[in-house]
Symmetry: D2
């Protein structure tokens, strides 16, 4: 079987390219290219992926959209101040930001959009296609890392690709949220799409149809980096031991842009929904599971999660588990973004179309979910990686 090689020039196109996650990923990519840092946190550097034909760090080029204009170098400098990027890494890679900056384009803001959404999406798709041509890239993976959006009601026009297409040409329509515009632009440009947020993105029937028609793969949603990551190993621990979880309470404290965005209860609803499916699925029943996300500005990107799990054991005797997870949000997310780009590039090269459930390992709310159990997801990922073309094939 002859497949297009994956280890060829590959692009990342960020939707939200000046945000913390993208900026951290870019900084890290620049450092990895030069071998300035060890690839800690990068799953695709593990033994299981050794022979998989993945783009090398030096082959990955970055571009993207954003609705704000602060130079990415300034954003990186800011992240040095908040403890997300070490100052010595920043200093070492600083010259590399200019080339990335040159590939960033203004994103589409619904509030100030003139013309139809259709036109806006076409422009976005053109930006991506031009980026691919200009850089001689074999393929581009579009990754949504923009701010979380409120949930989107599933109206009829979102159920069908043709209806959607018509609706988008109506000048008064603002049917699609920005994340789904990004997904649609990706598909139109023939690109794979990854939603690293809980926003709608590609998860609307009309979008899913479009991906199939365009023969492109997509993955998501909502990168699993903290509390939920822990839940997906701890809940299986309880069930594997036949211990009955009675309640699972959680509190998340964080500041930064994410904290501010999630302080809005409507937006937070998307995150809450994304997180809330995990426990019932893993425990096999609904247990009381109060969950809070609090905006604590002083914490910035240093998020803290506290979970309290109450369980029943032999003869009804109770026990509890509490954990406190303290991590830097963008730092936990960025290497997964790079992993996903490499893996989606390989998936597209191998002909994958539609949802890629084998990447569930990375997400809180995975498309085409089989299981939320991290160990199972990892096995699935590794098996899938083993089925991809090898670097020597």
């Amino acid at each position: 079987m002859t497949v297009p090689p994956a280890d060829v020039p590959t692009g990342i196109w960020f939707n939200g390219a000046r945000g913390s996650v993208a900026t951290t990923a870019v900084t890290g990519l620049l450092a990895l290219r030069e071998n300035l840092v060890a690839p800690i946190g990068c799953v695709t550097e593990g033994a299981a992926f050794e022979n998989v034909r993945l783009p090398r760090w030096s082959q990955i080029v970055v571009g993207g959209h954003d609705v704000v204009n602060d130079p990415i170098e300034k954003r990186a400098e800011h992240l040095v101040g908040t403890g997300v990027i070490p100052p010595e890494v920043y200093r070492a890679v600083r010259p590399g930001f200019a080339a990335v900056e040159a590939e960033l384009r203004e994103g589409c803001q619904l509030a100030s959009l003139t013309g139809t959404q259709h036109e806006a999406i076409e422009r976005m798709a053109a930006d991506i296609a031009e980026f691919r041509e200009r850089n001689g890239l074999a393929r581009v993976v579009v990754v949504n890392v923009a701010s979380t959006e409120p949930p989107v009601p599933l109206v009829d026009d979102l159920r069908d690709a043709d209806s959607l297409d018509r609706a988008l040409r109506d000048p008064s329509s603002r049917l699609l949220p920005p994340s789904s515009m990004a997904a649609l632009a990706a598909f139109r440009a023939g690109c794979a799409f990854v939603d690293f947020t809980p926003s709608a993105g590609a998860r609307l029937p009309a979008l899913e149809q479009t991906a199939e028609r365009q023969r492109v793969p997509y993955a998501g949603s909502d990168g699993k980096t903290g509390e939920t990551l822990l839940r997906t190993v701890l809940a299986p621990m309880f069930t594997s031991r036949a211990l009955r979880v009675l309640s699972w309470a959680g509190t998340n404290l964080l500041g930064g842009g994410d904290g501010a965005t999630l302080a809005d209860s409507v937006t937070a609803e998307s995150k809450m929904r994304s997180k809330s499916g995990v426990l019932p699925s893993l425990l096999g029943e609904d247990v009381p599971a109060p969950l809070h996300i609090d905006n604590v500005p002083d914490l910035g990107d240093h998020k803290t999660a506290w979970d309290h799990i109450s369980f029943e054991g032999f003869l009804g005797i109770r026990g509890t588990l509490q954990f406190t997870w303290q991590g830097v949000d963008s730092s936990l997310a960025a290497p997964l973004v790079l992993d996903l780009v490499r893996l989606m590039a390989a998936a597209q090269a191998a002909g994958s179309v539609g949802p890629v459930p084998e990447l569930a390992f990375f997400f809180k709310d995975p498309v085409g979910l089989d299981s939320h159990d991290l160990a199972k997801q990892q096995r699935q990922l590794v098996e899938w990686a083993g089925s991809l073309p090898t670097s020597t094939s």
Copy 2:
């Protein structure tokens, strides 16, 4: 293939039959027999074991050795007071203790032993064999739940079954610790042996040879019920995400008999060794991992473990995880003991000889270890269960 059925009268012979773990297991067994409680904490009641030919609760008969003489009913009453056994369960099963009491025999205390260890072991084996005959049992599983012993230096006579046999006939020799006497008695009586403690038990070359010669299986060591259980899901979480664990500190607080035993630093050494292999194996390297077990009498059986894990992520940025596990030790252990008895009976029925590494899921320091990763151990267990004779075969 025709195999002896496992769902036939089966015995448990406890070494340490009046201790907290055995007493809790007995109380629970009495309650399970009468369907008074749900089998929470019993892994073998899960879907994966549905078709495996395991002894039913009503087919399991209990006997055992102990060096103390308090009636088991009194011990159970005491455990009601310390929150290990619910009062209503105790009251419901109380009439059942008499039959168990009638099957308990005085154990061997090295300090007051007259005669050779050989004679003592023969007497112990005879007790077990008579128990089997008297109750018409197809087989008996011997389970060591006596107090943890100090580590045993591996002298030459312990390296070879024949040398050991000669040495044990020397009236002045006290070569074998009690746990290994129990193992040897089990093997002599043709019984499977489980070591639920970190004591030497069957883990001496001479004993291992004896098990092979007697064609009996054994399993162990040291039931995994708390801090180590968590470590075997959390360490794989870090490695699966390519996060580098920098240190893993642990503090264990407990009272009760176990707390007092482990307050002795020589004895605690066995427990420490048993626990200490887990992290290097799972993390692939040695990290600073200070570990303490403190005797805090007021906590009784309610043990508390606090772990602090420091890790390095993308670009060297740090994070931490802390957990606090609060559980009732004997309550966590007892259902696993019952599981092990059922599974070892099935193993012996199926012709298993020597170490049974597929039971690693239950132990801190498993014989014939493949991996400390709980998810892998569970898969291995389930696959092995699938290979056992089914209840309809």
Copy 3:
């Protein structure tokens, strides 16, 4: 100076006499009378109160109102099951419940009230007065331990005792919440009143005037038993060291009646308000302080609070403090209730009228507050106790 002696027969009249706090207090009082238990948790048994003329346990008689009818003995038995009352204490004091039961009267339920609130309050006052006469009590302290009520809007008729009196005679008026009816009944009967909940109780201008007119003292509000207790020692620690608290997040998990009541967000508002004044007052500024109270039924009376405090130190370097408090709510509250009864009896005996700010030590939201600092409150309490008539004066 001759004062009426306090160590004379004294009554407690509970509003909410069949609730968990009252039932636990009654059980404890019965046990203390017989010297069956040590007075752990009773502040008034400390050295500072040795010479203060306080009613002895054996001199305290209990009566009360409740809107439910379950026998108090049954309620106590239930609390044995939930771990609030030890079974051996329950068994020992059981014969004593009958006498308490005989002094309980049906409380007033607004929903089913016929007639005016004025008449209902007169009946309640009469119940209290008859209890005092029947038992030959020198005085009665009325304690509100009924369920927390939603906040009460301060309409004009609540601002003035005479207006209130007129309004209560209007058959269509339901102006006063049950806690304030209890306070008014106490005042009409010439009794001291303690509000152990965050409900309005005596904290309405019209009620405050009535207390002054009737020459009776009152104290409250909202017993300080857990998270807030800790905050009132930890916040002063930070300020005394000139460390700047940046945020103070809190999560409370509890079940039981309280958990269910507070699951209603309108009612919870009273509790939230009561708790929310503490930090700004102690820290001298408002800091982000998200606070949650979650209903987690399986925890019952075993409440758990987790607080996360972020602070800034020298040169702006950050630190954090987290605590987890696990306690049994009614068990923490009951001894304080008994303390308050003794102290309010002494206060009334000594001629105290209106708010008693020296009891701030016991409350989350103290009347006539000077400081929320527990150490200062304790000093104030001890100094005040020193000013009360001594048992030998």
Copy 4:
């Protein structure tokens, strides 16, 4: 009353001037002088000290001894890397290090000492006196912040100033540990002495006599910055509420120089002893209180303490409190060092001689202790401050 003014040029002489605490204090002092930072963590900047005649930041000059030679500027740069000093503060104050460097002298290392200890101490005293003259200082406060030493056995020659003096002239004698040499040098030079470590320092009868003879004050021992600070507010909380603490377990994790020093069990003994007096004194009884200090190199100066407190309340019902304190050791210590210098200068100006128990607020193991209760200690400190000459007197 005319007293020598305190707000005159004042010196700090550090024993251990190139260590983390001294370096952080120096950096902070340089920043405070220029008003570059707010005086967070400096108790003497509070309202209670407003009118006390204390040396102003601009009037404080730094010198000191150390046995290592790395430039203090390099040490500060290192502390930027470990998160103890913010980079922008370092950059702003950098020019100021040269003047401090010029005042640093080589300390005395016992291992390489030639000649008698008497001569060495005379040289140290001369260094201090010359520093005072050279800078025209009214007085100098000597502060020991060198590494913790093992406990010193109290031999006869340490019991009496004259015996000690004779013994020190014996060329073969190495009687005094370095901390006590520093104290003696301070006293000989007529200077106040502060021991911020648990080493012997001035706490030997012969040294105490010397302080009295030289008419100088001293304070100590062992700055209270973390776990013990919390214990001195939490233990009084329990006793004030008549709750009975049953056990109080503690684990301390830290790296850095302190972590390495305390990894040595002999040295750690000094720290353990210093910490261990607090609980029995505050609780009025000895409770099981296992305590560990673990060297966890990756944590560096970011120390973490976890305490688990088990208590008994009303009717014997149990509860627990756990806390986790995460702070940067030198950052917590440095402002207290500056506070102590200002206060000891004022004390000496006001004629204070011998131990200054009013400074107990700052120490784990205070000289002339009245109480370990932080709130009491603070009151005592504030009252004492009120008795010092005011800046307008």
